[in-house]
Symmetry: D3
Subunit: 242 residues, 6 copies
């Protein structure tokens, strides 16, 4: 990477300061505060013995996720979705992404008929809320599975290798890792990568609404994202004491 | 008060440990984390220049409030209201109480045509979430008004004397201050008191669903609540550096 | 009380003309038209054999309440909540108050697994709709329990002592009983009191949005409210032929 | 008609006892309680100076209608539509019928830019609620137009000739007028007729879900309905003192 | 009929070109594209083994219908009802009409405990969408019943004689059959007739919002409608190869 | 590619038969039926002079998109979203994808203050509905822009190079193009690619819920997708007569 320095002083391939705090609250089986710079998300994993009707007697567990922003998380307060009476498309889209990603981190056939509900509530938003959510949710998920194992209700070994997620974009023509809001809002291309510790992809989503991107640019972004994900996974493992 | 000691070791007229953290997040003009023991509420005050249509050209400002629980705040996770598509009656009731109470702490005719939106989001619930919300919201409100004053858009002196709120109940026949969930769920009588520093009441709500209460019991509860409110107001002032 | 006379000619501690008409409609087990001056509320108590799922096999009954205003009940017509697709916070708040209050008038463990649904629909509003609703609902409840007893499905004696409710406020500095809309809209303090025949309180809610109140004022208001509630309970008993 | 007598003692072509009470409540410009036997509907006409956006500067007025059942109006209580969060198809269908019918009774181009909102709230249901609603709404409409005329805001003569509505059905093979619930629920054919004083039809709706009907049966039903409508119009005029 | 010719060259008692295409799509048991001139409606009949809870163990089947317009079906695009979060009254009203009409074409007691769900989705609207829907839905229903019979789950002979529907109106004083949008929007009177092959009526709905109608006009309209329905039924039978 | 043949006889890198029919309906400015094998989507582009409030006086146009499935489009009928009262997350997600993709095909600053509303309604679903929607919507968009140009309201040249979209997956270990439902439902990896004629990407979304994927697999999928997109763009241009 070049020696260009960003507004916040980071190198182009450098993550913001990452902080993962377990046991942030005490009621859910897993509760994590994850911070990517000024982005702060409370990720909880609540457990329920039993599964929804459509999975009953399948011998398998279930995992679902919901993402939401607190109204005052953004610079300009946004109306509360519960008061509007409907959920925004963006919220739905991210909830689905988090759910798909984390289902890749658990073998439901090993979980027994238990349900894990992930909630990612953004306390403060400064770009990268979906990637922070996925990264924090893995840690909360690990704690929730430990809780279920301690309860003696898990027949197998459901937790799979760590997954983490990071954004990378092309800003002013430069491939940049982990975009804060100021960069994200003017990026030509935005790519979110969810990766497992093995280096394989769980999900990639690249969007060029302000400018198209070619295969070389995609590869350059993926290179940087892989490096970022490995660092995030190291942070997850450190937080989990692995 | 007697020397009876509660499950958590407190005297009957003793508050749980109170903690008020300003600048908990950075986007809203006021952002406070308030803790009453294990109850933790994020109270924010967002400002907007201008007022809703029905107050336009009145020369007055406006203040409104919304209360909500994060789904994993309680011991058993509760469905997210935005996903249900409607707000529960309890949520509405508490939002209205917070709004009425805090409007008593501000002189809207001195505020100019500005709007303050309070949000009280419960991160962790262990009883007393509405009283913690009111207590924390006053501090966030004070910060938001300072912000508006610094912006030079406030014509007068809108902030009135501090208000705080506390619950008191009759549990096993004993008048007890600041009920945690365990006590609240088996209280015979539950009284929420919102009081100003002058000792006058802003709002009192007493409910005897599990047992009626007479005038003497009401007075005994009010005596203890007054003492608790004065301590809370001292904590607010300390947090504000007053 | 002083010899001050109100706009409608009443003394400060005088109720408006009270009228309680049983069997106002014939389909529900209890149906009452209650009138506090120009405020008219139709209070019905519908019965259902069986209880909601969460009470099944508890041996206990259940009681719930809904309050609503007809669109043309107020001076300026209000939009119909069913057409807006959501219930206003005020409606929710009063429904919950009515439900809590009337549950204090029935011993659910004596009711058997039966459900009573109270509906308080305001035909004409002139202040005090929530207190009229509670007062009328007790009479409808009494009739519904008689109906269930006649059906032979009630194992015990569920109906408890009468409860009634009245508003009292401070208007132009004077403690005034049973506020019509004209007084209510400019009251400094508003207190709603739900009281049982024994003189004990079921619920008190005092609000000082336009002015705080001290302990002396609270006591003065409670004195007048008690007197009013005793008169209402006498009217309930007369209507029931007790 | 034959000398067959119905369960309630009426002849086949006989209306139930009809009662029209004006000024049933005092806030709306028109307020009528209409009774067709045990069916009781409160019909109000609220006025507003001005028209909705899509009629502004048209020089014309507007009229709209909403129909609703109170939850306890029927023998078995029905869930409240505002709580379900949506309006039933039946409610929508009848609201639209009432609105279309009453717009035929007013010349909007003579009304000036004023809006009349009709509300038909069924207090007690025993068949024929939609026809009672239309019949009562005409009287409320007449009073509301008088009110507007007294206010001096009506440029022309908007009120047209009276309209009324009645149901007729084929029950056990017999053409029967003004069906109560017991007959309505087992009718082979059901016809609702809205007619003006001139004998012309405003709307006819015939349904043969439990059996088809031919032209002769249609004509027999229309004959009886015409007679019923004329009697209703006489009752409307008597109530209005015309 | 006179030799007056309409804007589209038709005689007053002439249908628009009618086209009924079976197997328009392949997933539902019955799928029909019906065209009345430029009006095009996709009518599907989906089958489900089993019935809703309220019909369980009745030995009878169930049939229900939903009507909807695609947003771009009309000249000016209309907002999508799913995005508005609620269904318009007009949609509800027509869905109910289609359901009632088609239930008259099936003997549910002969169907066995099977459910047929009709969907009428308007691809292009040019007047007469409800009558086209009913006419097309009968053909889809016939195919769906054949499917169920081939599955061996139908105990009897549920399909009854064909039904079809047509609109007739009075436009510029002339009784006109099968109104396109241009005529429908300025008709004085509008009558929708649902008729069975036997010539008996299933449903008639006549509306005179822009002008009342007398018995002679009604009869003239019914005469023309009967002729139109017989032609539609011939087209249905031809499409079905009967 | 290997000589493996799929269930439907296609080679692994072969598209299903593609058909693009313009002027499918006549009311919208652009109306296209697009078919990818058995998947059939009606794509319309409706135009409106003017823009939403937030774009007013910007000199720019606006484009938005909605995707929806007809209830009977799938093998088992799905509940209609308008009746459920809320839109599913999947629907929201695809609507947003279609909107983002097509905004990349138009230069809004050249469009003038006009709005284009795309609607993609799936008549029949057999996999690839989102990619067919995007591919068909481009053609409808081109027709709508021609319409606006003919109206003389377009200041510049808003239409950019063609874009098309295709799915590619790994099924039974083989990279396969344009997955029908049968393959899609058991794919290990699923990748949707939106590409412009220049070969640059507009959007890529790869998901490995049933199995992760590495960089080599990603590249193999992108190679096949590019080939497919070029063929689709050729079909678009042929349909447009370019």
């Amino acid at each position: 990477m070049s020696d260009f320095t960003r507004a916040d002083g980071r190198a182009l391939d450098e993550l913001r300061p990452i902080k993962i705090t377990r046991n942030f609250t005490t009621n859910p089986a897993g509760s994590v505060l994850v911070e990517f710079g000024n982005t702060r998300v409370m990720c909880t994993a609540s457990v329920e013995f039993g599964v929804p009707r459509f999975k009953r007697d399948s011998g398998e567990g279930w995992l679902t996720a919901e993402y939401s922003m607190l109204p005052a998380a953004t610079h300009d307060r946004m109306p509360r979705e519960s008061m509007r009476g409907k959920v925004k498309g963006r919220t739905h889209e991210i909830s689905r992404l988090v759910g798909r990603s984390l289902r890749a981190a658990v073998d439901l056939s090993e979980l027994g008929e238990n349900t894990i509900q992930l909630d990612c509530d953004v306390l403060q938003a400064d770009g990268g809320t979906r990637t922070a959510s996925i990264t924090g949710a893995y840690v909360a998920l690990a704690d929730a599975i430990s809780f279920l194992e301690n309860e003696g209700v898990v027949p197998g070994r459901p937790l799979l290798e760590p997954i983490a997620a990071i954004s990378v974009g092309i800003v002013d023509g430069r491939v940049s890792l982990d975009l804060p809001y100021e960069e994200d809002s003017r990026a030509e291309v935005d790519l979110n990568v969810v990766m497992a510790e093995s280096g394989k992809f769980v999900e990639i989503q690249g969007t060029g609404e302000e400018g198209l991107f070619d295969r070389d640019e995609l590869n350059a972004m993926l290179d940087v994202a892989e490096k970022g994900c490995h660092q995030l996974i190291a942070a997850q493992k450190a937080a989990l004491g692995w």
